[in-house]
Each structure stands twice: as C-alpha cells, then as structure tokens.
Subunit: 138 residues, 2 copies
C-alpha cells in the first residue's frame, strides 16, 4: 500500500500468457464460425497443441469475461464461442454451414432499451440472433 508503483498486470489472476492460452486464442482466430469448447479441445489435439479440456473451458471463460469472444447457446443448450469485434453487435448465422455475419442496429438497441424502461426494468441485457440459410447453401 505504501508502495508508490502500482503494478497491475503481475499478481492479478488470469493474466499470465501461457502456451495453452495462446493456443486456444490462435485456434479461435482461425475460425469464422461459432465452435463449442469440446470442438476447440479436439482441434487443439489435432494441431499437436494438446490442452486439457478444463483449461480450454477456463480460457474461454477468461476470454469471454474480457469481451474477446462472444458466447451464445446453440438450440441444444451447448455454449459456443467465436472471436468477435469489440463493439456490441448481433449475429446472422447460417443454419446449414455455420457461416456468421456480424450485424449492428442502433434502432434495435433503442427499441429494447425503450421497452425495458417502459416496464420499469433495470440492468438490461438482451440476446438477438438471426438464423437462416446463406446464399451459398440455398
């Protein structure tokens, strides 16, 4: 406390760059579509960069908390992950091939906020995903 230097990074959990974290991060960067934790775990094994399943889950959670990946639930309830741009957005996903397009819409953001306020709800979050068949798959 009396120390003048404010070291932030070291000493703070979840900040150490390890082989495993880099590997997970790289795999995420190499895909455009949403993938489950288990798929990522398998892919890592195939690449020869074996990483424990628990570590994959932990790393994905870190990345999600840091806002570096988007998490959403497949219709079966499985969590799927994808590296996304930092700003708030939603997704247009192809049901057949998984291709994903990030979409934005100030109008929708305003609408949800308005609806929530109108009913006195606070601390709002929302999910909005669009599913369809992409041109290539039609």
């Amino acid at each position: 406390m009396t120390d003048s230097t404010a070291r932030v990074s070291p000493g703070v959990p979840g900040t150490r760059p390890t082989r495993q974290r880099r590997a997970v991060s790289e795999v995420l960067s190499s895909f455009e579509d949403f993938r489950s934790a288990q798929e990522i775990h398998t892919l890592l094994g195939q690449r020869g960069e074996s990483v424990g399943l628990a570590t994959v889950y932990r790393t994905l959670q870190l990345l999600a908390d840091a806002g570096e990946v988007d998490v959403l639930r497949s219709e079966e309830g499985e969590a799927i992950y994808r590296r996304c741009s930092a700003t708030h957005h939603h997704h247009l996903v192809c049901r057949s091939c998984g291709a994903t397009v990030e979409v934005e819409g100030p109008a929708v953001e305003r609408w949800t906020a308005g609806i929530a306020a109108e009913h006195g709800f606070s601390d709002i979050s929302h999910t909005l995903e669009i599913f369809g068949t992409c041109p290539a798959c039609s």
Copy 2:
C-alpha cells in the same frame, strides 16, 4: 384404411389425455413466469399431483411441439417454459424472479427481415429476449 371415418386422435402418439398431462398443463396455466422442468416437477409434488420427472419433460416437449408453450434458455443454459399467446412475440424477463412480459415490435420484425435479405439469407427465423431486473426486485 378403407374406413371412411378419419380418426386422428386415437392411434396417434402423444394425444392421450392423462392425469399427469392435465396436471402439468394446469400448473403451467397458474403461472405467469418462465419455469424450469424441475421447478414444475417440484410444484406438482407440492400440489399432491405427483408426476414423474421424465413425464414432466416429455409433456413439456409435447406442449412445445404443439406450440402451446414457449421454450427459451436461461442465461445458464437451462430450458424454461411458459404458456404463451399464440401470436409471434418476444419476452422481457426478470433475471431474479422470472416475471415475464410479452412484447411485440413490428419494427424489430421488419429490421431482422431486412438484414437477412440484405445478406441474401433465406428461410429466416430469429430469437430476441430481453433480460433485466423488474421493479419489484430492484
């Protein structure tokens, strides 16, 4: 087959009116909020209308397939159910007590359709749910 009377109900699976199915249906009608299958199972027990957990799941699936209940996933991935109106709508759900408001918005419907068309996607569906804290829970 050569019989002229077209009997639909008998012989078709998932159509027999039993005590258990009526019980589940009634419990659903007595609540305004989304509830998990397990909560419904517990509630049935408390009412003295004990129903097996597997049967609760089966019945909820039947009702969902028939469009009589809406199913959505809580943020933790659990499936939650609620008897809803027949027309297309979305939900404003309290994270803490489960209180639910059905909301509609032609603007949003138009927006999603527009985005999808813009990217050449066809056969569109969408999910849109708003989560927050209701006035009573603030």
